[in-house]
């Protein structure tokens, strides 16, 4: 008997999730509803993950097409899982399985259960279907399904005014994105309406049309992924959802958007032109730095994480942009390196960003606080959560020997290949992008020193924080499995790079050298003499030398220890308010960079001597993107609406004459049309 095809398995999983979503309306009312729904989601997502894994490790053999007689009668619905889809199925379902595991514990604190439970499996199904879709119609339907189900989850707690606003902005931006994608596929399908991906691939659009498709695809997928300046909804919507959904939206849904971009630009659109990469690289570089600077200015833990997703999307798009540049000049091996770096970062980011959102969720359940200014000292109260969160922070800050470093290192190696590009524009742009990348990497470290240091270290800043309790076992299991994966992917990156080879082979027409054969499990992007990195050895060296130093000092010198009040230059203050806060920690960076980017101004208001009023300091910051791009558009729409408002109260004669005039104009246009 032949094995069940992985595509069928994943598709069946998606269908089961949809059934589960409907069943959740009734099951959710029962007492064990939360456990049943999330447990079932966990099992289904795990099955889909294994199927995707099997497909990816088989080397992404030409997968079987599945056509279902659904949807528009003359189109049908096609599904197919090639290597690229298989990789993203792995990313989506690994994230989904772990988020479900986390939610078994976390979801039991949910008050508005029926606003979450039915939409959660639907959201998972939507993401799976986007990745599997093999024609424009099913892609768009699944995409919109994913957007709407996640929107429902964003507004689950609709009594909070901020969440309603987040839902509103998200809905508008999601519509804009879908509109752009609709037009993308419309142009791609051409006048004959060949909507299947195979037909689109076979067609060769003219350069002008390709350029149009690229721009539309950047808007369509970039708005979902969070490319600056289309990111505005993301830091509002991601934190508003329940934490396991935030983890999925930030860690996984943005990756589905990256999938959309890769699918359209690398696969469907054919040979790239050289300037495409310029556009992508410029946007990506700006995204990187803006994302992390925004993140540094936040003191809401979940919003900080959401802004930081924007930065990582920038890193991924830098790698994709480099891949486009190399591919345009036929340097397949270099394109393979850049694409591998980008896809590896997709995987890595899905790990640590989900992990961090889980941690933020655990803190939220334990204290009821998202505001870091009211947290602190949680490492004493929640040691396990703190440890897992610390691993996530170190991984996302690209510190060796964890996984974030590997993918950023590969991006740097790809940047170092770019002097061989013949185009002058790229020659000047790429080093600047490299500087922006290095800059954002260090700012990321600063950002996560702040996130971890203010939340978990120091002394508790509120009674809620000082009474926090460690979170439940399910949540901890979810966090620790991702923390372990962060370490494994960091010390054995060769395995992951090799698994990506079939994906990259299709997209770039080349692959990186086989890594598993390299001695000592190092990774070698091009050649040993050029560059190599061995996370395993670095990790072992650090463990050995640290342990050696500890045992030598404890045995030979002294191991005595005494607890005493903090020294603090002789003036320790018992009040926790004297500690550094999130905003005071960010103050030097705000002064150096924020005064330029955000026009940050500090106003100090001191009461005159003798006046018992407290002194006040206010920081005024402006969001450059929101104020220069969105507010004018919103104002324009408002202005037009106000002007057109008069049309409501016209007399019937005036209406008729307007209709008549419109008819005449339209007929004239038709008559004059060449």
């Amino acid at each position: 008997m032949p094995m069940l095809a992985p595509t069928v398995v994943v598709l069946a999983c998606a269908a089961l999730l949809l059934v589960l979503a409907i069943a959740a309306v009734w099951i959710g009312r029962t007492r064990a509803g939360t456990t049943i729904i999330y447990g079932a989601s966990l099992v289904i997502a795990l099955t889909a993950f294994l199927a995707g894994m099997a497909q990816l490790l088989r080397g992404g053999v030409p997968a079987d097409d599945i056509m279902l007689p659904l949807g528009l009668p003359w189109i049908g619905v096609r599904f197919r899982m090639d290597a690229l889809s298989a990789f993203f199925v792995v990313v989506v379902d690994l994230g989904a399985a772990t988020a479900s595991l986390f939610a078994i514990g976390y979801g039991s604190h949910e008050r508005a259960r029926l606003r979450v439970l039915p939409f959660y499996p639907a959201f998972l199904a939507g993401m799976n279907l986007v990745v599997l879709a093999d024609d424009a119609f099913s892609f768009l339907v699944a995409w919109e399904f994913m957007s709407l189900s996640s929107w429902a989850l964003v507004v689950a707690h609709h009594r909070v005014p901020d969440n309603v606003r987040a839902g509103y902005v998200y809905l508008i931006m999601a519509s804009l994105g879908t509109l752009a994608l609709l037009l993308t596929f419309g142009v791609l399908a051409g006048p004959h309406g060949g909507y299947a991906f195979a037909e689109i691939r076979a067609a060769h659009p003219s350069p002008a049309l390709s350029a149009l498709v690229l721009c539309l695809a950047v808007v369509g997928t970039g708005s979902k992924a969070g490319l600056v300046p289309l990111h505005v909804w993301l830091p509002l919507a991601h934190p508003a959802a329940p934490s396991h959904v935030s983890a999925l939206m930030s860690g996984v849904m943005t990756k589905v958007a990256v999938y959309g971009f890769v699918r359209i630009v690398f696969d469907l659109l054919g040979e790239p032109a050289w300037w495409w990469s310029m556009l992508v690289l410029m946007l990506a570089g700006m995204t990187c730095v803006m994302g992390v600077l925004y993140a540094l200015m936040q003191h809401d833990l979940k919003r900080l994480l959401a802004y930081h997703t924007v930065e990582n999307i920038g890193i991924i798009f830098i790698a994709l942009g480099l891949g486009l540049a190399f591919k345009a000049y036929g340097m397949a091996w270099a394109a393979a390196l850049a694409l591998t770096a980008g896809l590896l970062h997709v995987f890595n980011h899905s790990l640590f960003k989900s992990l961090l959102f889980f941690g933020a969720g655990a803190v939220l359940t334990a204290t009821g606080e998202r505001d870091m200014e009211h947290l602190g000292g949680l490492i004493h109260r929640m040691p396990h959560t703190a440890f897992a969160f610390l691993i996530g922070c170190a991984a996302i800050s690209a510190l060796p020997p964890l996984n974030g470093f590997v993918s950023e290192w590969l991006v740097f190696q790809a940047i170092l290949l770019s002097p061989q590009l013949p185009s002058w524009g790229l020659k000047f742009l790429v080093p600047a992008v490299g500087a922006l990348l290095a800059f954002s990497a260090t700012l990321a470290a600063a950002c996560f020193v702040k996130a971890f240091g203010i939340t978990f270290l120091g002394r508790a800043r509120s009674s809620a924080a000082s009474a926090a309790r460690e979170t439940d076992r399910f949540s901890l299991a979810a966090m620790f499995s991702f923390a372990a994966l962060c370490l494994i992917a960091g010390i054995l990156p060769g395995l992951f790079i090799d698994a990506l080879a079939p994906v990259v082979q299709v997209l770039a027409g080349g692959r990186m050298p086989v890594q598993t054969g390299v001695e000592w499990l190092s990774i070698v992007p091009i050649a040993q003499s050029r560059s190599s990195y061995n996370g395993l050895l670095v990790f072992l060296f650090m463990v050995i030398s640290g342990a050696l130093a500890a045992s030598a000092i404890h045995r030979l010198a002294s191991d005595k220890l005494r607890r005493a009040p903090a020294w603090d230059c002789g003036y320790p203050d018992a009040c926790p308010a004297t500690q550094y806060t999130a905003s005071s920690f960010a103050q030097p960076i705000r002064r150096v960079f924020g005064s330029v980017v955000f026009r940050a101004r500090e106003q100090v208001e001191m009461a005159p001597p003798g006046d018992p009023r407290p002194a006040r300091m206010t920081v005024v910051m402006h969001d450059p993107v929101w104020e220069t791009l969105y507010l004018p558009v919103a104002a324009g729409v408002g202005y037009a609406a106000e002007r057109l408002n008069h049309l409501q109260s016209l007399t019937i004669r005036q209406f008729l004459s307007i209709v008549f005039a419109a008819l005449v104009v339209l007929l004239l246009v038709l008559a004059l049309w060449p």
């Binding site: 040691p383 000047f428 050895l537 060296f541 640290g546 000092i553 010198a557 005595k560 009040p565 903090a566």
Partner: protein, 316 residues
């Protein structure tokens, strides 16, 4: 292989044992330039031994992280500094981390130290951490730009290959390398908390950065952090020496004689570097904290300029 292993071990021991000497030497020379007698050169060793024997006084609010971090910082810095060629290139494990990874290892150490500054929950720790990350946010990109420059010149991010290339006649005089050297010196000064960016001898709260972060450390923990700081200074001097002054560096297949020459040359380079550092430090005043971004911004721009020149022409 065994010989290679021994050489790698020797390198690890040499950096560990000479690092406090270098710190002592710089202090001595500075003192002599100020017409003071100054402590003997071996004073840092005595300090370390004394500190290690003392008991640790730990703040009540300190967590386990606070106790682990000194060992972590030491491990990261030691591993990083034993991967930079000192007296011989082609070390056994040199390929396990290239220059970018070495920089990132130091970044890991800094990340940990900044966390330690926040752990006890005092305002001094916070001030140190927040300034440290602000300085790092410019110093590290500048360093990466320098790495780009060197990697583009030598065609490799591997330090052994770089040193080999710089020793060969293919280098010649290049504008980009000059710019990179200036930038590297500026970054090294900032990274090692030297004047004019930070003052290792001060305890004046308005100016201190590194010292503020480690204020709560005592005993063996403090000893490890001091030792790591010395190691880091040594690392940067070795880095500058190995890339910009690779003379005397023994090759991968060198015999005992060449190794001895390499070791002597290395000690000579260290002494020269220490002297120049002391000279520079005595002839300049410390900057205000918010002047530091301008200083490091200049380093970043120099690094970027050097990289751009190489993108324009490989021979610049």
């Amino acid at each position: 292989v065994i010989a290679d292993f021994l050489v790698q071990g020797a390198q690890m021991l040499i950096v560990l044992l000479t690092a406090p000497m270098l710190t002592g030497l710089v202090r001595k020379i500075k003192a002599r330039m100020l017409r003071r007698a100054g402590p003997p050169v071996i004073q840092p060793y005595r300090d370390l031994v004394r500190l290690m024997r003392k008991e640790v006084v730990l703040a009540d609010t300190a967590s386990w992280l606070f106790r682990v971090i000194p060992y972590f910082i030491f491990a990261a810095t030691w591993v990083a500094s034993s991967l930079v060629p000192t007296f011989r290139t082609g070390l056994l494990f040199s390929w396990s981390a290239d220059l970018i990874a070495i920089i990132a290892l130091l970044g890991s150490a800094r990340f940990a130290l900044a966390l330690a500054g926040l752990d006890v929950g005092t305002s001094f720790g916070g001030i140190g951490s927040s300034r440290e990350v602000m300085i790092a946010s410019l110093a590290e990109p500048a360093m990466i730009m320098i790495v780009f420059t060197l990697a583009l010149v030598a065609g490799s991010t591997q330090l052994s290959t770089m040193a080999g290339f710089m020793e060969s006649s293919a280098v010649g005089l290049r504008v980009s390398l000059g710019l990179a050297l200036i930038a590297l010196v500026m970054v090294a000064i900032a990274e090692n908390a030297r004047i004019p960016v930070d003052n290792p001898a001060t305890h004046l709260e308005l100016t201190m950065v590194h010292e503020a972060m480690v204020l709560e450390y005592s005993g063996r923990h403090l000893a490890l952090i001091e030792l790591s700081a010395s190691l880091k200074l040594l690392l940067y001097l070795s880095l500058i020496a190995c890339v910009f002054a690779p003379w005397g560096l023994a090759g991968p297949s060198a015999g005992l004689g060449a190794l001895a020459v390499g070791a002597l040359a290395y000690l000579g380079k260290l002494a020269t570097g220490g002297f120049l550092l002391a000279l520079f430090e005595t002839s300049i005043a410390k900057m205000r904290v918010f002047r530091v971004p301008e200083f490091l911004g200049a380093a970043l721009m120099l690094g970027l300029l050097a990289t751009l020149l190489l993108f324009v022409s490989r021979s610049l």
